[in-house]
Amino acid sequence: MLLELIIRGITIGLVYALMGVGLALLNGVMRIINFAHGEFYMIGGYMAYYSMTLLGLPFYFAVPAAIAITFLLGAVVEKLLLSPIHTQEIEKPMDYALILTFALLLFFRQLAIKVFGPFRHKPPDYIPVDVHILGVKISGNEVLAGIVSALLVLGLALFIKKSWRGRGWRAITLSRKGAKINGVDIGKESWISCGVACALAGAAGALVAPIFTLSPTIGGSPLVKSYEVMAIGGLGSIAGALVAGLMLGVAETLGAFYISSAYKDAIGFLMMAFFLLFRPQGLFGQK
């Protein structure tokens, strides 16, 4: 039983890490936080659902399609609404982004209720067979979600570490002015990184759509989890987000089973509050 809980916790923790990494990236490059992150998760799930049911695509096309659409959506949001942060001088960019993305959260949620309908949808299973790991039976969907999430997180980490664009992002994270002087186009990198961050959320949503069913309000819980992951792992740290996601996933599954399922959501919040108050730089962050 313990083993099963831990394996389940790790799978869900990888998805949390995928959500948290997107936020960490956005926080590093744009110095803002996105309250609409969970809504991109919801949109990604719906896009995968519609490309499978309406267009009849198999899942290995439907998930990339969802990722592409959320990437474009994120880029458009950045271009239209968030770009004043680096083009105009706004007195308090963090407050501006907080309020604006919160308005976006309400907007996307209400729009989803009108467009997709308030009912629950469930896309067909991606992998309709069960997999046995160490004698524990787990559905293929969960295995797929865990593996693809891990690959995406590792891929992003490699991209940031190795590629020129990733170097530019790291430069912006360290010093915005310094990056500008050395020829990094902040406007361009901002919309690309915002698109990537939103696409990661969309990927998470698309991957877990067959496990948790879809409804317009599912964005709330992953939003909360991604903040917890980011706060525990440290702002802007990808390794921290990965470890924090796994910690959170396992702690929650174990807590829900051994302590009380009603207090499942409180576990993450208490962990987050503890870290914010007593170790504000997070697990791996520097002061």
Binding site: D95, L106, Q110, A262, D265, L276
Partner: protein, 324 residues
């Protein structure tokens, strides 16, 4: 208080006093809801607009105030009028504790800590259903029993809203208000000028929370029911929406915003159907993107022009307005 504020407060009270005899009876409830949101958002305006602390857990405080009031009325039979006070004091006390806790964090971290607090409160309210009644809610008595209960509740709400408005206007023009603004605008400069920033931060936070607690207690006694949904994220969205649409950090902002979000939305319900929140979210996005001051800024920009037009109309020189 400035002359305009006295006039507006008087007009609101006068309109509120005649409303039950002019409007159909369902509107008493809508206007009471307006009073609830106005008190709640005046509290948030003090926290964020005056003191600059971005609290995302503001809706936890009406829940705390409301449950305190309901539980006290149920178990020790406290009078609802004292219950309002008890709700406000309980929320204010928790506000002091949270305010002391968030002295350690700034900006975005503050937002996360307060949000975490609100969610934990919500989870506890749902989980401890032997005490709080869980998601089904908890019943509470009315202000007075009898056929006039609703009308009495309405007048109490109106009075509380007027009180909250007057207090926030007095705070805005007082020395205490200046301390709060100093903390908001430049905390280091305020510190170096000898403002006790730690004290004023906690004071601003707890004062706003106490008003939220009063609002929650009023809600509980008026609707005779409190459930955990008044502490949810959607409610926080509404609070945010009201203050941003009305005008952040202004005296009239919360009243104006509540008027649009509660009363105008109710008027338009027939035409816009379920789209009102979508429309308000769009307005909020546009307001934040283009007019950061909300409706108050629009009014402030337009009003000199209107005054000029008016002066020309009554035959005075155009220049007259420029001198004032």
């Amino acid at each position: 208080m400035k002359r305009n504020e006295i006039i507006i407060a008087t007009v609101i009270i006068a309109l509120g006093l005649i409303a039950p005899w002019v409007l159909p009876s369902v509107w008493t409830m809508v206007v009471s809801l307006f009073c609830y949101y106005a008190i709640l958002t005046i509290g948030w305006n003090i926290i964020f607009g005056y003191t600059g602390l971005f609290s995302y857990g503001h809706v936890a405080f009406p829940a705390i105030g409301g449950y305190t009031a309901a539980l006290l009325a149920e178990h020790i039979g406290l009078s609802p009028f004292l219950g309002l006070l008890a709700g406000g004091l309980a929320a204010g006390f928790i506000g002091v504790l949270i305010g002391l806790l968030i002295l350690r964090v700034r900006g975005f971290y503050l937002c996360l800590v307060t949000w975490a607090f609100a969610e934990v409160v919500n989870v506890v309210l749902k989980a401890e259903h032997q005490i709080t009644g869980g998601t089904g809610g908890f019943l509470a008595p009315s202000f007075v029993s009898g056929p006039n209960a609703e009308l009495v509740g309405y007048f109490i709400g109106l009075g509380l809203m007027a009180l909250a408005f007057v207090v926030s206007a007095l705070l805005y023009h007082s020395r205490w208000g200046l301390y709060l603004f100093a903390v908001r605008d430049d905390i280091d400069a305020a510190e170096s000028m000898g403002v006790k920033t730690r004290f004023w931060k906690v004071f601003g936070f707890a004062f706003g929370c106490a008003w939220a607690g009063v609002a929650g207690a009023f809600y509980t006694y008026y609707f005779n029911l409190i459930d955990p949904s008044i502490g949810g994220l959607d409610e926080m969205g509404k609070v945010c929406l009201i203050v941003i649409i009305g005008g952040l950090g202004t005296v009239y902002g919360p009243i104006l915003g509540s008027f649009f979000v509660v009363i105008v939305a109710e008027f338009l319900r027939g035409w816009v159907g379920g789209y009102s929140l979508l429309i308000f979210a769009t307005i909020m996005i546009l307001a934040v993107r283009f007019v950061r001051g909300g409706f108050m800024e629009i009014i402030q920009v337009i009003s000199p022009h209107l005054r000029d037009k008016y002066l020309i109309l009554i035959g005075k020189k155009y220049r007259a307005s420029r001198e004032t």
